[in-house]
């Protein structure tokens, strides 16, 4: 059950020139949140920009009721959000999305994220690790300048592989190449992915070829985030081409079993 609240900004950390890490007091949302959930933020009480901004949850501090999210400044909405100061209140609805990351029953999992898609994977990795699951994490970035949250992910992973597209930091090339290499030796119980659509397509294919369950967190343009407007459609895998059927990222997702969706 989602809540709307005015959440006080407690801490604001600038990670790169356009990526911000916010910590807000949002006990009621934190209590109900699961890994993979997202929130919708209204950045202004005016009508410009009009829609809320869907942003994934990075970390849940259940003890202190603190919700953490990280976002990149991409347009007008995130620009306004980035200007919020510590002490100010932010209009948040959450947690949203009934499709969340499920890890119960797994012993050994692989987590793969690309660029700003790594954020929703953190809480998943953290909770999985806390429940005794072996967590192998693969993170891909464009280059050295874009590498973020390395030590954070290191702390909650049994193995962390970082790759850069241009090889300027750690492994060279796409993160998926290293996941592909490692699953030759031992197959994880499940692969969890979030990142650019090309990466997600490659991960879906890799998982399905190797008969490994795979959960992907998807993105699509959203209207409401509540399941009312039916805007954020994603094609179901089993529907016929001539009459495609759709799930909605905000409600059925944002996390789906890769076999259920076509993207």
């Amino acid at each position: 059950m989602a809540k709307q609240m005015q959440a006080k900004l407690l801490e604001k950390i600038q990670l790169t020139k356009d990526i911000y890490h916010f910590k807000v007091q949002a006990k009621e949302i934190v209590e109900k949140s699961k890994p993979g959930n997202f929130i919708e933020i209204r950045v202004s009480d005016q009508t410009e920009p009009f829609l809320r901004r869907p942003i994934s949850i990075y970390n849940l501090d259940k003890e202190n009721g603190i919700l953490e999210f990280i976002f990149q400044v991409k347009g007008n909405g995130t620009k306004i959000l980035a200007r919020k100061e510590v002490g100010q209140e932010i209009d948040i609805i959450g947690p949203l999305g009934f499709g969340t990351f499920k890890y119960d029953g797994n012993k050994d999992i692989a987590i793969i994220g690309g660029g700003i898609g790594i954020f929703p994977l953190y809480e998943l990795a953290k909770q999985a690790k806390e429940s005794g699951i072996k967590v192998n994490t693969y993170l891909g970035f464009r280059n050295r300048e874009n590498v973020i949250l390395e030590s954070e992910f290191k702390n909650i992973s049994d193995n962390l592989t970082i790759a850069t597209d241009d090889g300027s930091y750690k492994e060279n090339g796409f993160a998926i190449n290293y996941l592909k290499r490692d699953i030759q030796n031992s197959k994880p119980d499940c692969i969890y992915a979030c990142g650019p659509i090309q990466m997600l397509r490659a991960v879906k294919q890799l998982a399905e070829e190797n008969n490994i369950p795979c959960q992907v967190s998807l993105e699509e343009k959203m209207g409401c985030g509540l399941g009312a407007c039916l805007g954020c459609a994603v094609k179901t895998a089993k529907s016929p081409k001539e009459a495609p059927e759709y799930f909605h990222v905000c409600k059925g997702g944002p996390v789906f079993n890769s076999k259920d969706v076509e993207f």
Binding site: M1, A2, K3, Q4, R42, T47, E48, P49, F50, L51, R52, I93, E220, K221, M222, G223, C224, L226, G227, A228, C229, L230, G231, C232, A233, V234, S239, A243, P244, E245, Y246
Partner: protein
């Protein structure tokens, strides 16, 4: 009232008691299930948004079995927005709706996002009169007809609704619009064009309510970018007997409640005892 954008109510029942609403108008419902359009289906525009959902809905049978019992738990009127692609389909659908425990039907003659139907009937006097007349014959429940603003003379079309014996007219549906991604050099919406809603269209909606109020005697349900009590009052002064909230629900789930409270505040400030005193006085 709540309009179209409200799903079948469940999505908002987390936030407030739906019984506070005068009525809930469901999203467009058709005889058979409709899958809707390809994504992307929505995009933001200045003080508004474009949508091209394509009337995705589970069909009237599913609605009757699954959503109507839920809505009926609340003390609010349930009005079903009915869509079709031919006169026969509208009639068939309304025959079924006539048997359901609902309070009325809003005939959707105005969705800009489906190729067949809707708009085709909605933009001429003859088209609106014909389909409304045929539906009227099979529907005993209150009948409202929702009009498209994408016409030259809205007052003439609204007259067709009255002449065909409908009980009310609702306006406006979305304005046809388009957004282009200048870097991809392509339309943002997969359907190329979509319906514009939100505060951006409010002045157009107020103008049309005003024009229609001058020529019809049946009540007008006004809508188009209402997000506050002040906005609602504007529509009432222009001639709307009731108002409804659409896109405003997306930015704040409490928009309808705040609007109701805002209307009451205005009445107190202006010493108005009965809201009917101000309807259409401009």
């Amino acid at each position: 009232m709540h309009h179209g954008t409200f799903g079948y109510g469940r999505e908002y029942s987390d936030f407030f008691d739906l019984s506070r609403l005068g009525a809930i108008i469901t999203k467009g419902t058709s005889l058979k299930p409709k899958n809707g359009n390809k994504p992307s289906r929505v995009c933001e525009t200045p003080s508004g948004m474009l949508n091209s959902i394509g009337l995705q809905n589970p069909g009237v049978e599913y609605f009757a079995e699954n959503d109507l019992p839920f809505l009926r738990k609340y003390d609010t009127k349930v009005i079903v927005n009915a869509c079709g692609s031919s006169i026969e389909e509208y009639v068939e659908l309304c025959k079924i709706l006539n048997t359901l425990d609902i309070d009325g039907v809003e005939l959707n003659l105005s969705c800009p996002n489906v190729k067949e139907g809707c708009m085709a009937f909605g933009n001429t006097y003859e088209g609106v009169k014909k389909v409304t007349t045929e539906v009227r014959k099979v529907l005993d429940k209150p009948l409202i007809v929702k009009l498209t603003p994408n016409v030259t003379n809205i007052a003439e079309i609204a007259k067709a609704v009255e002449d065909a014996g409908a009980d009310g007219v609702s306006l406006i549906n979305t304005l046809l619009g388009m957004k282009i991604d200048i870097y991809k050099k392509a339309p943002v919406l997969a359907n190329i064009t979509g319906g514009l809603s939100g505060p951006a269209i409010r002045p157009v909606a107020v103008r049309m309510v005003y024009q229609v109020a001058k020529v019809v005697k049946i009540p007008i349900l006004g809508m188009g970018g209402i997000i506050s009590g002040e906005d609602a009052i504007e529509f009432m002064l222009a001639g709307a007997t009731a108002i409804s909230i659409g896109a405003g629900n997306f930015i704040d789930p409490y928009t309808s409640i705040k609007t109701i409270d805002g209307i009451e505040d205005y009445m107190r400030k202006e010493n108005i005892d009965d809201i009917n005193e101000i309807i259409g006085i401009v």
